[in-house]
Each structure stands twice: as C-alpha cells, then as structure tokens.
Symmetry: C2
Subunit: 300 residues, 2 copies
C-alpha cells in the first residue's frame, strides 16, 4: 500500500465511528470538508516514515498517531481561516469551512476535529496501554500550551513577539509532534527525532512567509496576509533573499539531523522532496535575479 | 479537604504546567478567566462523588478526570458565548472571554482548554496505564461526535432537530461522562452510573430552558436567548408548567438511579441539593400560581 493510500485510510477510519446515525449531518459534512481532500499530508507522512525507521511493530498505533496529528492540523486551519483571524475564502483550492457552512459550524468543526483526534488515539491506544500516555502527551504538547500550535497562533494577539518562538510554536510544534509520535508509536525514544521535526517545521513556516510576500502561492491560500494582519514574518525581518538563505540552512539542518537508520537515505529524500514542494528552486532563482536587479538599480 | 477545595486544586494543577515562561501571557490570562472563579462545578463534583462511591483508590486519576471534564465544559462556554452563537456579554457574573480579550483569543482559549483537558488526563494516566484509554474514550464521547456536547451545540445548525437528542447531547453527554469517568477512575464498571448522569444532565438543560423563559436567571447569563435564536426548548415545547413537571420527574429518576453503595444517601442528597439550586421550589410555586391565574382569566 502506498504511503498516501495508507494516510487517507487512516484518516477515514475515525469518521466511520464519529459519523453514526445520531450525529448532526451538517457538522459531519463540515468536518469531512475540512479534512478531505487534503494537502500534502506532510505531518502524517513524517510520522509514519519515522515509525518505519524505528522498526514499526504496531501499525494501528502509528496510523492513529498520524491521523490524530493531521486532524489537529485541519482543525487549526478551520479556525485560522475564520473571520476573526485570516477571514480566508479559500483553502487548498476549495471554499473554507465558514464560507461553505457558516461561522457557527466552522467553530464547532474545529472543536469536534480536536476531540476526534484524541478519540482516535484513545481507540488504538487501548491495545497499547504502555505507549498511550506518552504518545498522548507528545500530541498535546504539539497542539496546546505552553508551546503548541494554538499557543503559536496566540502569539499573534500579544503586543511583543519573538519571531523564532512564534514560528516554532505556530508550525514547528506539530512537526516535532509528528516525528516524536512516530518514534513513540514504535515504542522507541523520540528524542533523536526532535531536531528533524523542529528544523522542517521552521522551514515550512519560513517558506510560507516567503510565498505570502511573493504573491505566488500554489497551495490555494490568499496571499499578502502577513503584512495585512501585521504578523511577524521572516521575509519581513530578513528580506526575501535572507529568508531564502535561512530556508536553505533549515533544510540542510533537517537533512543532517536524520539519525542513523536503515531508511536514512529515504528519509532525507523525503525532506528534500518536501523542500522543493515548499519553495521550488525556480522561485529561489527568481528571487535572486530580482534582488540582483534591484542592487544594480541602486548602484546606477 | 472539602470537595470544593479539592476541585479548585485539581483545576489549578494543569495551569502550573501550561503556564510556563514560554507561554503567551494573554492566552494564559484568558484561559484562567474562563475557568476561575467557577460556577457550581457540578460536573467535577459528580465525578469525584461517584469515584468515592466506587471505592476510590487513585485520587490523582479522579482529580485529573474531574478537572478535564470541567475544562471541557469551560471551553464550551467560551465558544458558545462568542458572537456567532449567543454573543453574550456576561457569564458567571463577569465579562465573557471574547468581550474581555477579543474574539481571536476567545477562539484560541476554547481550543487550548480542550487540549489542556486531554493533557491533564495524559499526565495522570501515565501512572494508571490500564485505566487511561477507557477513561479517555468516555471523556471524548461526552465532548465530540456523534453525541457529545459539541455535536449537541451543532444540532442548533441543523434544519430539523429532535429536542431530546439535542438536549441529551448538548448537556447530558458531559454529565454522563462525569459519572462514568468517576467510576472508571476508580477502576470499576461505569454502566451502573450512566442513568444518573443522563437524568441529571437532561434536568439541568430543562431548568436552563425554564430560567431562560422566566427571565430570572441567577447564574449570570443573559435571558430570552432560546426564543431569540429560535433554539429548541422544553419550555417552548411543553409550556412552563409542563417543563417544571418534567424537570421534577427527571430529578426523581436521577435520585432513584443511584446504585446501592455506602454513600447512596449522600449522593441522593447531592442530586436534591443541585435540583434546588437549578430550579428553586419558590420558582416552581411561582410558575404554578401564574398558570392558575392565567387559567382563571381564560375561564372568565
């Protein structure tokens, strides 16, 4: 079974239980709209890849961990798109949940997806009681307070923000949860995998900042949001060229951090493939050309 | 230690971990605002009382279960108060979270409290691995889909609603989770305690409907909201007198449902005390007098 098929099956599973005859049909439709069709599913990919690298022996638990993290990611997208944050009309090329189903259902869809994530972990965890608590802690740490994605988003509501802390929490935290949960689902120590999640997560956020400024987002999101909402941004802080340099350093660090294991090379390929998807080489070249041209204009 | 002191301590515990130096200060303040000072804390009271009745042997786990359920309840209040639902200015006699901290932080506060609830369970559950998964399932079932409080709230967004299903989910589900989690935290079968939570939860919702119509709410909430938002309501369905009758039957059923145990009488007293708090006898008398007067006017 391909990685993507495995992920989509793992994500469908929780809906079979949640979507009983007694569930409110519009809520269930909104929840599905938020999760399917998905984006690159990079977090569950990472989680499963790490579990395999750690000698996966409980694929049902890996699947539950991977699905729970993607459900939490989808929940955060639904809430971040709402009018009080981005007020976005589109996401992944389709209508956002609040535009399609209204604000009240969008609010509840996010809440219900968060709970569904933990329900998914609980169900698989019943068969692996000695792995459940630590796995659950890892997923909670990636999501909540003090340093998870919800806390990351909340930094946008603070008068003073450290860019690094904001980005590590807003995006990095759930990447760290993805790699660490993969190791824990396989019953192994998560620590050697923390740096991979951390570096890739920060790279992801930096690429997002760059695309937001370049106005050439292929991920189906509106652009120019960071400046419009006065949000901290690497592109604003370091300039486009500086941000691209920093992105490359982070990808290098992610590649080098992969611990020695049978699938080290495959894992490094996954990181490089993701890097090209996030910020294609052609876009980097374009930024360099534009920068050189503006330097020439400044000299002339 | 008194029951209320125990509950407040159990609720303070998660904040000590969540509120590290790296957490966004305004988010943490908003989360505390949502949880302290509390209301009657009836759900954690129920949870702890049932655990004791079941021969509690792991008070740390009971405390975590009780706290997690109250945190989920507080999260639901924060989101229900937001402009896209009740647009309430006050709650428990103080400013609502979105009025005090703004909509973005209110949205994130609800999310962060949901995650904190599961984090609290995970931390205590690590010491009781063979109870964690089932406890977690119970708490998730009370909260999410298909029949938890989020699903209950979502019934308000459906074109057709069954009043009973709506109320059981909207309020009853977390009461059922409270009694069942109490039994499970003590390592016993939750089923004998389901009816108590179910009946008390429905009674709670019926009392809420009655108070909303009477315009005499002492719980610090605005009144007349059900009619204004076209929400299903027992008071609208059965009339005030019919709703009061139904409320009394539910309390009777809750009292009778308490299984044989050493603390049966104390538990029944807790139910009757709660009943009086929810809908004082004086209010019932007032409704009966008003009804008789309107009957006389109709005859004349």
């Amino acid at each position: 079974m391909s990685m993507m098929t495995r992920i989509e099956q793992a994500l469908s599973q929780p809906f079979m239980v949640a979507d009983s005859a007694t569930a409110p049909p519009r809520l269930m439709a909104a929840m599905r709209h938020a999760v399917f069709p998905g984006g690159a599913r990079i977090r569950p990919q990472l989680c499963i890849a790490v579990a395999k690298a750690c000698g996966e022996d409980a694929p049902d638990l890996t699947n539950a961990a991977a699905a729970s993290i993607e459900l939490l990611h989808c929940a955060s997208l639904v809430h971040d798109d709402m009018p009080c944050f981005d007020d976005a009309d589109t996401r992944r090329g389709q209508t956002t949940v609040h535009k399609q189903f209204g604000e009240p259902l969008a609010l509840l869809t996010g809440d219900a997806l968060i709970v569904l994530a933990y329900q998914t972990l609980a169900r698989a965890g019943a068969r692996h009681p000695h792995r459940l608590a630590r796995l659950l802690m890892t997923v909670c740490e990636g999501t909540g307070t003090p340093d998870g994605i919800v806390a990351g988003q909340a930094w946008e509501c603070e008068p003073r923000v450290q860019l690094g802390r904001y980005q590590r929490a807003k995006t990095g935290a759930l990447f760290v949860a993805s790699t660490c949960a993969g190791a824990q689902a396989a019953g192994t120590d998560p620590e050697p995998w923390r740096r991979l999640g951390d570096a890739l997560g920060e790279a992801y956020q930096v690429a997002d900042d760059i695309r937001d400024v370049m106005g050439a987002d292929q991920l189906g999101k509106p652009v120019g949001q960071d400046a419009q909402h006065g949000r901290p941004s690497t592109a604003a802080d370091l300039g486009l060229l500086g941000a691209v340099d920093y992105f490359r350093k982070l990808i290098q660090s992610a590649v080098q951090s992969v611990p020695a294991c049978a699938s080290r090379e495959a894992m490094q390929q996954l990181v490089l493939h993701e890097s090209e998807r996030l910020l294609p080489q052609s876009a980097c070249d374009q930024i360099a050309v534009q920068h050189a041209a503006s330097q020439r204009r400044a000299v002339a």
